[in-house]
Amino acid sequence: MLEQQLLNALTLGSVYALFALGFTLVFGVLAVINLSHGAVFMVGSYAALALVTRLEAPLWAAMLGAMLVSGTLGLLVDMLILKPLRARNAPHLIPMIATIGVGIMLTSTAQGLFGAEILRFPDGILPAGEFVVGDVHVRALEIAIVAIAFVLMAVLFAVLKRTQLGRALRAIAESPKAAWLLGINVERLFHITSFAAAALGGIAGVLIGLNFNAITPQMGQPILHKGIAAIILGGMGDIRGALFGGLFLGFAEVISKAYLSSQMGDAVAFGLLFLILLVRPSGLFGRKLERKA
């Protein structure tokens, strides 16, 4: 049973991590808590579904398409809403509230276009294989999800650590003003970040949509809560922290359900979050340095 539970935790945790990555990226670079990230996640799911059912695209193309759609959406939100707010030096809560409005708009648009009921990917689109080792059951899909999540995260790390772009982004995360003085095109990087973060959110949506095969306009809300918990656990704006926080949350949730009581799953997750913040006020990986936005 333990092996199976650990595996369950790994799949759950890697999806949380993938979702949290985009979330934390936006916070780290743009200093905005983007509460529309859950809705973007939902849009990714619907985009892939529409591509598969209406255009009969193969799954890989649908995934890329979903990333493109949600990425573009993230870019639009940045250009049309967050950029003007930056230009006006709005107090730091204001962009967050704008993203709440965006989330409401996206959710109701999705309901208008696709209806309120649960939609699912058609048969035959999902990889059907299954492996049984002893008492442990693994679906090929779950392996694919963990693999895709980790590959994407590795790519993101590599970009941030090794490339010019990554160095520039890290410079902005330290101080946008200093980065600007260094001649970095801050606005362009904000756009890139918004696109990438939303694309990551979108693909997380597709993966969840595929794994659990239930797509609704409201599906972004629960994961948004978990995403918030994950990035705080790890330390806001920290990429490693998001990965760690997501996985940690996945394991904490599954293990507490398995060995305490399934009623405790969420209570443990949030109680832990509360306690960790009291002991380490900026999360497990958080830096002392607080950016005043």
């Binding site: 539970q5 309901q111 309120a116 009921e117 048969d123 049984v132 659990f212 599906m219 399934s262 799953g265």
Partner: protein, 384 residues
């Protein structure tokens, strides 16, 4: 003044056309059309619209057309109260159908009851709904009427020794379903291996199911909504759980078993309605609904559809006087006498037993069907 003269002109025109007695019967429909509960609210509205269109196409009730005043209550309690008040005091409807969730009914029901307006729930299964007062009616069958029969039938069929239970613990519907299951299992002396919970919005049930698997039950009892049930069944099979499922009202969705395919075979479901019920009224309903909305109806649509026919049957015996308060009272007195044969089978009301002995409302008196899922479809269980 201007308004009055306009009314006079319209009256005059109608009188000329010989329609002086024909008036619209305004009926309020308050359902969750947006938000999380919209997936039920929208199909409920569809059920009402279909029934209203049919009744009106056949000339209405005693020559009076039904006019539905449809409002969105968003599945929120304050919205429920606001919508009820708007329907009662502003639109001056004769009666109200809805709201979608039991929670909203607990908040909005007292408003209607205090205003002496019939409120008729089609999807509120929680205990205590009809304790609100004598103006509260429902045709939604309570879990406590359905589950004992279902569990008994499954126990006999599968010779169950022990069962596992899973339910949603933050939802009034699934939690009250669980409470009934718990009582039934105690009464029928069926041991429980483990009881697992999840919360609304969960899509991953593997942690709980892995635990259930380790406890090796003969069947899994599931007090869940249809959307969660599909994932629970599929993930259970994915983990290698072979035991059959037993579900309550929430399982009664053809879509559920379409999705879960053969994974759901052998599931016992007790419910007032199934799409494969061969009665002619039901066949016609399923076909018409499909034609009108290009989608399969579900239990919620079926109960709404029946509810309007129940109200129509009562209204047939009511002489509308034009005095709104008197008409509302007359309708309240006429409803308990209705007995119809609808898409959910033979239906009549029974007076609710309230906890504190006050006069309560009216519950559904209906025999549930027991279905077994076979080949992804509901088949009537043949109790030998």
């Amino acid at each position: 003044m201007q308004l009055m003269s306009k009314t006079l002109v319209v009256c005059g025109a109608l009188a000329c056309a010989g329609l002086v007695h024909a008036a619209d019967i305004k009926i309020g429909v308050a359902e969750a059309l947006t938000g999380g509960a919209a997936q039920y609210g929208v199909t409920i509205r569809n059920g009402f619209q279909l029934a209203a269109d049919e009744i009106n196409a056949k000339g209405g009730i005693n020559g009076n057309k039904i006019q539905l005043v449809i409002e969105d209550e968003q599945g929120k309690k304050e919205e429920g109260i606001n919508v009820f008040k708007k329907l009662i005091f502003q639109d001056k409807v004769l009666m109200i159908f809805g709201p979608t969730l039991s929670n909203s009914m607990f908040a909005a029901g007292p408003v209607a009851n205090a205003a002496k307006v019939v409120v008729f729930g089609t999807s509120n299964t929680a205990n205590g709904i009809t304790d609100i007062g004598p103006y509260v009616f429902r045709n939604s069958v309570m879990e406590s009427d359905v589950l004992p029969v279902t569990v008994a039938a499954a126990t006999k069929q599968y010779k169950l020794q022990k069962v596992a239970v899973i339910y949603g613990n933050d939802d009034a519907f699934t939690k009250s379903g669980y409470d009934v299951f718990k009582k039934v299992l105690e009464e029928q002396k069926l041991p429980v291996t483990t009881t697992e919970t999840y919360v609304k919005g969960d899509v991953d049930f593997k942690a709980q199911l892995t635990k259930i698997k380790a406890s090796a039950p003969d069947a899994v009892i599931c007090s869940c909504l249809a959307e969660e049930a599909a994932n629970i069944i599929l993930q259970a099979r994915g983990l290698g759980i072979k035991a059959p499922f037993i579900g309550g009202n929430g399982f009664n969705s053809p879509k559920l078993f379409e999705i879960s395919k053969l994974a759901g075979d052998g599931t016992f479901v007790g419910s007032p309605w199934a799409n494969t019920n061969p009665a002619p009224v039901n066949k016609a309903f399923v076909a018409e609904y499909q034609k009108k909305y290009n989608a399969e109806p579900n239990q919620f649509a079926a109960q709404a559809y029946d509810a309007l026919y129940i109200a129509a049957a009562a209204l047939k015996d009511v002489k509308l006087s034009g005095d709104l308060n008197a008409d509302r009272e007359a309708l309240k007195n006429a409803l308990p006498k209705v007995a119809i044969n609808g898409v959910t089978g033979p239906f009549k009301f029974r007076p609710a037993k309230t906890k504190d002995g006050k006069p309560g409302g009216w519950d559904a008196d209906q025999k549930p069907f027991i279905y077994v899922v076979q080949g992804g479809k509901f088949a009537l269980h043949d109790a030998k």
